[in-house]
């Protein structure tokens, strides 16, 4: 074995090549996060200031109705989104798993929204939901003159409007994940169930779904971490309104305070809260997946 001094030089090329990753990891992800969290305990306004302010920012944060509304909105949107995307995605995957003809065509159609920007999605649906020219008007023209379908202009229903667009974009992707999971199931299980006389629906519910636990969990985590970042869609569809606040989301709160209202401290505190919520989802999942295994 070569002596100790050369151990650092071993795999030197590899280490040099990996430096970008190490740098980024440390500086941006770890360093950046820590920096923001630390500064959330200061009273920074226009510029970051290292003046200790304790939990002031957080007190203000949780005392602001705008923040509270954004949290409520995100929770509602998140839960509904999760339930519907996973249910719809799974059902669509089951349908596609029935040896349909032209499967590729169907899948192409269901997945293309995923390739679009949230801005594009938001603007198109904003147009479709337009009360003057969109669906509401069309149904009225068909005779139902008192038909109302104007979710985006009503603070109580605006989130449903967002959901329609969000589901449209994301369900196809979940369908693909679920379909891949379904296809990974050993074909012999299906045969055994058939020989046992188990009807198809029961096989799905009692045997297949439990077998797909890992796929469901992974999908859940991916969707959840994406929902927390909800921003572009809201900007495009409602700009946070109607009435300025009805469809606020945390990501919007962060951006507005950080870059528009010149209140960095609030922005830092808000983004730290966002981080916390992600960790609440991530850490139990990571523990379940990797619990006990050592890293590195």
């Amino acid at each position: 074995m070569s002596g100790k001094p050369t151990r650092l030089l071993r795999n030197l090329n590899a280490k040099i090549a990996a430096i970008p990753m190490i740098l980024t990891t440390l500086v941006v992800f770890v360093g950046g996060t820590i920096w923001t969290v630390v500064y959330s305990f200061t009273d920074s306004k226009l510029l970051p200031r290292l003046r200790w302010a304790g939990l002031d920012q957080y007190e203000r944060l949780w005392g602001t109705s705008r923040w509270l509304v954004s949290i409520e909105n995100l929770l509602f949107y998140g839960v509904m989104s999760l339930i519907f995307t996973i249910c719809m995605g799974f059902l669509l995957a089951v349908l596609m798993d029935q040896k349909v003809r032209h499967e590729d065509t169907f899948r192409t159609i269901m997945l293309y929204p995923f390739a679009l920007s949230f801005i594009v999605t938001g603007l198109v649906w904003q147009w479709i939901l337009n009360p003057q020219f969109g669906i509401q008007q069309i149904v009225r023209d068909w005779g139902w003159t008192s038909f109302t379908f104007d979710p985006l202009n009503n603070p109580d229903t605006v989130l449903y409007g967002l959901l329609i667009a969000g589901l449209w974009q994301g369900t196809g992707f979940v369908m693909c994940l679920m379909l891949a999971g379904l296809r990974g199931i050993d074909e012999d299980i299906w045969k055994a169930a058939r020989v046992d006389g188990i009807p198809t629906w029961k096989t799905y519910v009692v045997i297949i779904i439990p077998m797909m636990r890992a796929v469901f969990v992974t999908t859940l985590v991916i969707i959840a971490s994406g929902i927390i970042r909800l921003y572009d869609l809201v900007v495009a569809m409602t700009s946070g309104g109607p009435g300025g606040n009805a469809s606020q989301v945390p990501a919007m709160y962060v951006y507005d305070y950080m870059f528009q209202a010149q209140n960095l401290g609030q922005g830092f505190a808000a983004s730290t809260m966002m981080l916390l919520s992600v960790l609440i989802v991530l850490i139990p999942w990571a523990y379940l997946e990797f619990g006990g295994k050592k890293h590195g």
Partner: protein, 309 residues
């Protein structure tokens, strides 16, 4: 025991082929098929609706749009909204249409894609074939990092870019995109390279090839499919980005998505819906084309990006 011979009363010819024979009768229009294909078709209508509306509206003149019925095809097809969206739409600052945003997006996307893929592929390669102490830890942190909401890293990056003199420039944005693209891409490449048989690698080392030699002469030529997948993932992701575009550039340098939002949402006065839809369509065109052309590879890319850990 000898071969079985049949007693005359049991010979197949005596017991004529009574009862069902051959394939089970299948009616194409069975109840099951109707429900199955019916549901799928209805679902597809839901998915195709916005695309249809977008295209139809963008091909109509404003008077026709005001008549209502967004589902109806134009009575008179006109490409004027498209031209307007591209070259004369106003964003509040200037009135040279989406073309500016388009080229900005191109300038942002191309270097970002090249940079992020180059770095991530080398990283993935180093992680799998040249493990060194701590490499797995770093990788895990990187993956965790990809889940962290961008918002928490927004401001520190602003500071960093300012120190480097890149804040507000296109190259600053390129750097940001490259950095944030690394976790998923590194995972992608790492997983792909781990499926290449280790014997190939060992044989090359026995032949005397070093780190870069193996990378360029062995790994790269074998990895064309995954490079395409990474390409699709990055181009779509970067082109569609909004948040970074709006935070890290100046208005003249806004990418297409930001411009689009400005054109549609912040214009006062008369709304030209057909121009808006044309602009929306144009912005979505690039990733859509990539999607339709690459089909299966795109699905593979999504699955790869999604299956983390």
């Amino acid at each position: 025991m000898a071969d079985v011979t049949f007693a005359p009363s049991e010979s197949p010819s005596a017991k004529a082929m009574a009862g069902p024979r051959g394939a089970r009768p299948k009616r194409a229009l069975s109840g099951r098929n109707i429900m199955l294909y019916g549901t799928l078709i209805v679902v597809c209508l839901y998915y195709l609706l916005p695309l249809w509306v977008m295209v139809m509206t963008s091909l109509k003149g404003m008077p026709e749009v005001r008549l209502g019925n967004i589902f109806a095809p134009p009575m008179e097809i006109t490409f004027e909204p498209w031209v307007k969206a591209w070259s004369t739409a106003c964003t509040g600052l200037n009135c040279d249409g989406l073309s500016r945003g388009f080229w900005n997006s191109v300038i942002i996307t191309v270097p970002s894609v090249i940079l992020s893929i180059a770095i991530a592929s080398v990283n993935g390669y180093a992680l799998i074939n040249w493990r060194f102490k701590g490499s797995d830890i770093f990788f895990t942190i990187l993956i965790f990092g990809s889940f962290i909401p961008y918002q928490i890293m927004l401001y520190p990056i602003v500071i960093l870019l300012r120190e480097m003199g890149l804040y507000g420039t296109l190259w600053g944005l390129v750097l940001v995109h490259s950095v944030f693209g690394m976790p998923i891409l590194t995972l992608l490449f790492r997983n792909y390279f781990s499926s290449i048989p280790e014997e190939l690698f060992k044989a090359a080392r026995v032949d005397g090839a070093g780190f870069w030699g193996i990378y360029f002469r062995i790994m790269l030529p074998m990895s064309l499919p995954i490079f395409v997948v990474a390409l699709i993932l990055q181009v779509t992701g970067i082109w569609n980005d909004f948040l970074f575009g709006v935070v890290y550039t100046k208005p003249e340098l806004y990418p297409m998505t930001v411009q689009l939002n400005n054109i549609v949402n912040s214009v006062q006065g008369v709304k030209e819906y057909n121009v808006n839809m044309a602009a929306t369509l144009l912005t979505g065109l690039v990733p859509l084309i990539i999607y339709f052309v690459s089909g299966k590879l795109f699905v593979r890319g999504i699955a790869a990006g999604a299956v983390k850990g």
